[in-house]
Point group: C2
Chain length 333, copies 2
């Protein structure tokens, strides 16, 4: 599976910025691979790169249009289809990481065949896995966990990878979702594997390594999300991570996608994650908190970070506002 860069990021009619987090992540972590974004009328997202139509993107050298938008349930919106067909007509490949596959859209599959273009369905694992064993393995591992979906687990893992590499420490980001796979070039969409193999796929993704090598494993979901907690627990057991970083977005009105489902208490979320993680890594502990405080003004955000840090006795940072150095120090302490 070899995607051709550079990419045109398709944002469709994303109903909010979070819906475009795939495009957002690629634009932020691999800007050199991106020529621009294509947005449909009504699109509420903007990943900060040039707006382009297909002709402009082709003129700018684009080789692949990446579906950078996700909706609940992971299916393609019918409103996107004309753009997908036109991109194939203009000679672009398509790449997507939804549950539904490009290859299963009859018109798209037929058009790709006619035009000789490739369809990349990144979410479907292209191999099978063994069941997990929980057997201790060498190397150092850090997993980002969360109070909810879409709270910065991928961003935090990538920021930690960069900070460790800046210190000349061997470190690899391990991708578990479609955006992470587009950024890293490999990985496993753990929420798309057969349920029995969640922890086994994670063990495969972050295998035994040199004793001083760090894997920074991208977490998914939350033990407190009624839709996805099973994925989160399998990942937690398979990661066998000595260090957990708790990611959160305080002041959300409810759990993502579930109006009426309250956010968990942060301390309770730390306690449950540590408790469950110790099944396969008795030394596991939460070393710090990464918070998305974008709902707060800078002063209120700083107050919240400080108060929460004092309350928990842990470093609490907003990676976008202040970086992750306190987390790196805690990892290496």
């Amino acid at each position: 599976m070899q995607l051709l860069a550079p990419y045109l990021l398709f944002l469709g009619d994303a109903h909010d910025q979070l819906a475009a987090k795939t495009a957002d992540g690629i634009a932020r972590w691999r800007p050199s691979k991106v020529v621009g974004q294509l947005r449909l009328p009504g699109c509420q997202a903007d990943v900060g790169v040039a707006d382009m139509d297909l002709d402009q993107a082709v003129a700018a050298g684009a080789r692949t249009m990446v579906i950078g938008v996700a909706n609940r349930g992971g299916v393609f919106s019918p409103s996107w289809q004309p753009s997908l067909l036109r991109a194939l007509d203009r000679g672009l490949d398509l790449a997507a990481g939804l549950h539904e596959r490009l290859a299963d859209l009859p018109e798209v599959a037929e058009r790709a065949r006619l035009r000789g273009r490739q369809l990349f369905d990144l979410r479907q694992p292209d191999r099978s896995f063994e069941v997990g064993t929980g057997r201790p393995r060498a190397g150092r591992r850090c997993l980002t966990v969360g109070t909810d979906c879409s709270v910065g687990k991928m961003y935090t893992a990538l920021a930690l990878e960069r900070a460790l590499q800046d210190r000349q420490i061997q470190a690899d980001f391990r991708a578990t979702g479609q955006t992470g796979i587009l950024i890293a070039g490999s990985g496993v969409s753990v929420d798309a594997v057969v349920a029995d193999f969640i922890s086994g796929a994670t063990e495969w993704l972050a295998p035994a390594n040199q004793p001083d090598h760090w894997d920074l494993i991208e977490g998914q979901g939350s033990l407190f999300h009624p839709s996805f907690a099973g994925v989160s627990l399998g990942l937690l057991h398979g990661a066998q991570a000595e260090a957990l970083v708790m990611c959160t977005e305080p002041h959300r009105p409810h759990m993502r996608g579930l109006p009426g489902q309250p956010l968990p208490d942060l301390a309770a979320c730390i306690t449950l994650n540590e408790h469950c993680a110790r099944l396969t890594c008795p030394a596991a502990r939460v070393v710090g908190v990464a918070a998305n405080t974008s709902r707060l003004d800078p002063v209120a955000a700083a107050d919240w970070l400080q108060a929460t840090g004092q309350q928990l006795g842990l470093p609490v940072v907003d990676p976008l506002r202040g970086g992750v150095e306190p987390l790196v120090a805690a990892l290496l302490a």
Copy 2:
């Protein structure tokens, strides 16, 4: 999907009785559908029905050979293949509930085509699911949970269904594994669904119902099993069960399939299951314990049941030795 009865139960070269739990369950709960068992040399299991070769089974009226044995990882053993081919030659259909599919064994698929026989792969869901929502729904639900795999969760749920129906209470067993599906005639193998949809599939399996109707939902795995805990947690959230029955086999040397992985403390297992269940059903509680005490002599078993019951303040029974009446009373209290 319509399986033709009666069945010949294929036990293969099962290395112990637990490996034949699919055959065991069918023989125990639907004896009228079974003509006999077929065992290969070295088979260490016996489900208490007549031993037969294929000719004898056909003469006794068998229509389908059910693969009643499972091995770790859920693949077919090459040593079974000659029997599968001969069964097709004798005019039997085949049914299996492993991760690997009969339809993906090239020789078996070709022989079935040649002979005009059907292959039933019960484990693969034949529909797609929505993601779970956790939204409250009507009806009463009980989920069997466990300290480990293969500790009697299906048996206990079936025994509770029978006991409730004997009291003229509306009750349905809800199958989540291949054996349960063979017994119930329908269900979802939740460990075979895509990981994102574990809780959603469970919500579909046990939907809203009459206020006084009971669903008895078959649990899978254990929150303390490093291989399968993700499945268990998704099931726990999707079941939204007010009543949990904790199933256990005390005195096992280690978790099933994982030498070196110790059993969880029973009280800690109850606490964690109640804690996690309350995310989608705030009233959830463990109403009792169902123990498989077959490793103990009758006196030691009775002592263990009584001591454990006093320690936990819950009814603790061995369903095979003493039935489930104390659990039914606790359910209805």
